[in-house]
Symmetry: C5
Subunit: 351 residues, 5 copies
């Protein structure tokens, strides 16, 4: 997530330099053809082209709206993970106790159970954020040269899941989890089993058990929602077509624009023969601007489509998860030196 007010003009220009170059080459070719081969007879009328342009602007507007909807929904889901995690942290502390225990446990033993539940919860979040960072075949934004060159990468690329999980759960848990395909699900199964054991030991009142199982249910839901956004792209047939429409418009544009500038040139050739003759070359900057606007409008939507890919415009799930971890550990009363630092902001970007 970019955290400054705006990207700078330079960043924008640099980010789009390849297509800008391409547009310059396209239009120079066309103008040269028109100029040297005297193709001015070759033109298409504006009105139908403007109609295509309007339709394209319209469908891209809708697509961008949908892309925004996906980012916003993804952020809501991770907001939900924040809320439920805090609730889980507080509930566990106030519900695991000796009130109904036939064989009371010592305070430190209770505290250990509470710690184990809380740490396993952090493990769940960790497994989930690693799963969210795995590549999908339709997630190609991150491979785009202009997206890669900023040299930013989410923390999940710099440390492997195994190392992150080991300190958080017991060895037997670790073995169980690693044997399953969906690790987050496996961890939640373990949470549920642990709660059941606590209930059987009598340190978790039966109705508190139901309450906490309700939280486990909520976590299953939040995990599933996050996976849904990860695994179900913006429908590819819509995306492909909009991409095509935009390119058709951009490629047809010179056929209408250059003759129009040529005509303007013709109109002034009597007064200023020189300028009149070369006036069609002025269509170059204008074409580049129009093409750039339509292309960037579409690209900006594509960039935001997959909010967990790990680019500068994604939902900062690493930061969110780490923030919850700090919160949970502080309220567990852990010493400051055992609490990890928040991930650094790199080039104004949160991951």
């Amino acid at each position: 997530m970019h955290i400054k007010r705006n990207y700078t003009t330079f960043q924008m220009a640099w980010w789009t330099r390849f297509e800008t170059l391409l547009f310059i080459m396209i239009i120079i070719t066309w103008v040269a053809l028109y100029y040297f081969l005297d193709l001015t007879w070759l033109k298409i009328p504006w009105t139908p082209l403007a109609l295509i342009g309007t339709a394209v602007a319209f469908v891209i507007g809708f697509q961008n709206n949908a892309a925004y909807g996906r980012i916003w929904e993804a952020r809501k889901i991770w907001g939900g993970i924040v809320n439920t995690s805090r609730t889980f942290g507080a509930f566990v502390q106030d519900m695991v106790n000796n009130d109904y225990a036939q064989a009371p446990m010592t305070d430190s033993a209770l505290q250990k159970e509470i710690s184990a539940l809380t740490h396993r919860h952090i493990a769940w979040m960790t497994a989930l954020r690693y799963a969210m960072r795995e590549p999908r075949r339709w997630e190609t934004t991150v491979h785009h040269k202009t997206n890669q060159e900023w040299g930013m990468r989410p923390p999940e690329k710099d440390a492997i899941l195994e190392d992150e999980l080991k300190p958080l759960i017991s060895e037997s848990d670790y073995a169980y989890v690693m044997g399953k395909s969906n690790k987050s699900t496996a961890i939640l199964y373990l949470q549920s089993h642990h709660l059941k054991q606590l209930k059987e030991k009598g340190v978790l009142w039966e109705f508190s058990f139901l309450e906490l199982e309700g939280i486990v249910k909520e976590l299953f839901t939040l995990q599933g929602q996050s996976e849904r956004i990860k695994n179900f792209p913006y429908p590819r047939h819509f995306a492909t077509l909009n991409h095509f429409f935009m390119w058709i418009f951009v490629l047809l544009l010179p056929l209408s624009l250059v003759p129009q500038f040529a005509e303007i040139g013709l109109g002034i050739i009597d007064n200023s023969p020189l300028i009149g003759k070369i006036f069609m070359w002025f269509s170059i900057p204008f074409y580049v601007i129009v093409a750039w606007i339509f292309h960037t409008m579409e690209r900006i939507g594509r960039t935001g489509e997959n909010p967990f890919e790990g680019t500068a415009n994604d939902v900062p799930i690493s930061t969110i998860a780490r923030g919850i971890e700090i919160d949970l550990r502080q309220n567990l009363g852990e010493p400051e030196d055992r609490i990890p630092q928040q991930f650094a902001v790199i080039k104004d970007t949160q991951f």
Copy 2:
């Protein structure tokens, strides 16, 4: 669900080749009429036609938005099935036990009950996905030649429901279910009866019984929501009209476009008599492009309207259901060889 970044240009061109051919024939006919019969007087003004075009682009934009809304909602519902299934799997394991039993059951007997509940749940999902694949009278996309020729079909076409259900439920259950019109509903009734029996045997605490009945309620809801999308198409009066509007625009277009090209030709006839005379023939590619854009924009919406039909752009319910099954069986501790494989991705398409 298509899982590559984009369809290729060839796929798009091939997929739309029939209408492209039709448009070529239409426009060639018109240009020939204009050219040989000298019909240039027959034209309609551009502005009102452009207005129709804008209005058509607008209503189709809304329709595509609604189509996307349907796909997305369908995916959410099946995401809900994922979440509730996992919860059900975990709850059953931790709630069916001897804690309140007056006559405790053996561990293996308990495990058998848990297995029976879990397998019956898989049976429910199976019945539901078969029901979702049944044809409806308004689901014609799948019969379109250009949709069929890719040779892909959902797994539900290759195996019959009876064979899938039999291994999952007992014989008496099977007989009961097959006698009912809505098989998924019947299976959920059986789940509820089973839970009640467990409660009466004392291996399911009464309040856990209520909790699990709550899950059954949720499954009824998810099933009903999925059936709602299946059984209630995008209102046919909206769809029909938009289809008509698009065709009216496409069919009127030559009357405005060909004369316009003819006029451009007239303007250059002095300098290049040959090109000027035949210039109207250049309207052919341009007409085809404009008509193709409007037609494809509308077709793309129609294609996605019914997200369970079994085409390449649908919600992959077979894959989702199988994924849950694998998850549930792994966490039941079943041996790997008894767990079925995920359905294969065919030509970049998940079903």
Copy 3:
């Protein structure tokens, strides 16, 4: 609900024949005036008119979107009724029993109570669908000649509520319900009273009682939501204005269109004097098409505004309710001959 892929062209043309005729008469009158009185000086410029046209297309687009929203919400509510009804059917069967009874009832007595509750639920649905079919002052679509002539009417017009209710509830219940203005509400009060009596008899566990009261609450909510859509039309000031705007556009159109065709005629009068002179008559089909598109676009929205009115484009509540009834009775184990048939599909329309 129309259940074919599309309405046919003939159906569309027939359905809109009156306005088509009106448009033909309007435009013939204008062209005649222009032609015989030589009114060509009387024209209004296109650009402001096109602006009105765009604005009108825009607001009608929004209105149609809202109309679709109403239909879709109505369908969701009735989908909710499906889900809650099935849940109610299953819960009643598994929660009414002797587990906590001090004076156990016989099995057949229990079954009778379960039957009574289920049948009263069917009575509630029946009362609700009859209430939804009652006319409102703003529901005039059904009276439109072109909507009536297809000869289709919802089953609620062919049988009176009294006859439908009597077999479903006891005589005293019937007397109570008929004395109240809102019959569905009265029936739910009776359900709640019945549940309370079962609880007092001990055949309904107190917490199951709370659970079932929760279902009653949900039914109150679904009923209220359905009544809300019935009783609160799309705000009449929006609807009226959009209707006006559309007509203003359609009525101003000839003043701009006919002179434009006349001008085209003037342009070709040298080459083809005859055609040039009568060219303005060619504006007739074009005007009819433009006016028809704008009018139909608006009419289509109006048609779908009130989804319970009983027209061909409404939510098929009779079919839905009957479907639930069949479901409930089958799972009660009633013999096939006591279970009513689904309502017939008439002319591709479900009611």
Copy 4:
């Protein structure tokens, strides 16, 4: 709420007569200036003006959509009040009883408690609807002369809250409520206290107490939602700007329109010198129509922004609240003569 299909043309014309007059005066002034001072050189080009017009139509479209969203949400909230009130009515009857009472109360004493709770609920609704009718500084629609002159006013203007509340609650309750700033909140506190007392007396089972406290919670929510719509207007900066944009467009329009008509006049001056000379006067009706459409489009949105203000287009909360009251009293078994009548429909308007 207007309950006829459409407002009549006369009502619309009368309702907008002041701005119509203003537009007529504006355009007459301009045409006179152009005509007598020969200002035809003073014109602005159409295309940028049309662009403004399109943008204005667009933002007003969005605003009207938001206004509709507010009305619809308000209606949903009051629909929720209907549903929860009915549920409350039924629950109170079936949950207040002697089942768990150590010192059973007489039936009539129980009935009195039930009555007290139900009547206090009606008091809550009454206090709420009076609060909703209080003026806010941004609610000025109701003061507009053309809105006032129809002589319709909501019933809350004809009777004071004090008189309405007194018969519904006890004297001590009345004193308590009147001492608080938010009367609805105070009444719900009293409901909660009463429920607690019933629980302590043993005539309300503890878990039923929790259930009913849940209903109180829901009522707090519904009340708060209704207050939210009342107290948070459509953001004034959006509204102000859209209002400005519309007026800018309407005021610039003559500078483009009159010269255009003058030009048309010039074109026909050879054939019909008289008509050609005065042709610019024909711009008057056309200008009035365009300006009226844009102004009314914006006004219609403003009119519906605040759905509780008490105008003809608002949510009929008085009628809804009275409807619930009748429902509740009928099901309490009160004699018909003690049940108030529904508020009358005045000039096709429900309040």
Copy 5:
């Protein structure tokens, strides 16, 4: 939140005076260049520029819609805080009592516990509103000179959090809270711990404890939702691009507009040589108007993007929180002189 019907014209003009000046300077420069250097040959055609204008209006329309969505969601969340706070106030009063206590507490001791819970709740709201007022890097609206000069600032800038919190919670609580990074979360942990202690003392029934823990859960959710809107801006890549597109359009506009006015001047130069010659200067006011509309349309969206920043158009969270405080204290029965006043409305603005 602005609470008058509309901002005045002067306020609007003053608020936008810098950009207005900038536009005047831009256009004067261009016209001067055109006029003195006779650059009339330098022009770009209107149609593609109008297309850009339409596309820009479209994407800004969507952005403003999203901005409105953010404000409205923020208001809903704080409306939820109102509702849950009132519920909490009522529940605490009716659930903390001696009904299940083995060692009953005195009434005043009970009242003290109720007071402590309620005051700590006010502390939570206070901490939350201070957190919402902290600056973020993308919140720059408040620093804009034209936003600052009105001299209005939210009350959180005039009093520090420490002073506000101290009177509301005990010293040990205060120390605990101040040591945590997220103070609101810490306070909710304390609430939960307090509830647990009351349960252990027996003055809070176990099931009421669960109910109140449910409220704590809800407060965690509301707090997290509020933080989500605070911490996740409208995606900066969308915002940046729209900003760019708007400026491109505004900066290209003179190249098309001035020549157009020059041309109009040319057309009238025969009749009025003077006016014809200087006519291009008339483009100045028109350009300023068009540029102002597009710029303000975009600015208005930016202004509302971050609804907690503390500007005149934000959600009035200080007022809302204080309103709840008054409500809670009145219903606790506190004397009027201990209840703080509502924050003053400054220049028609609520904070």
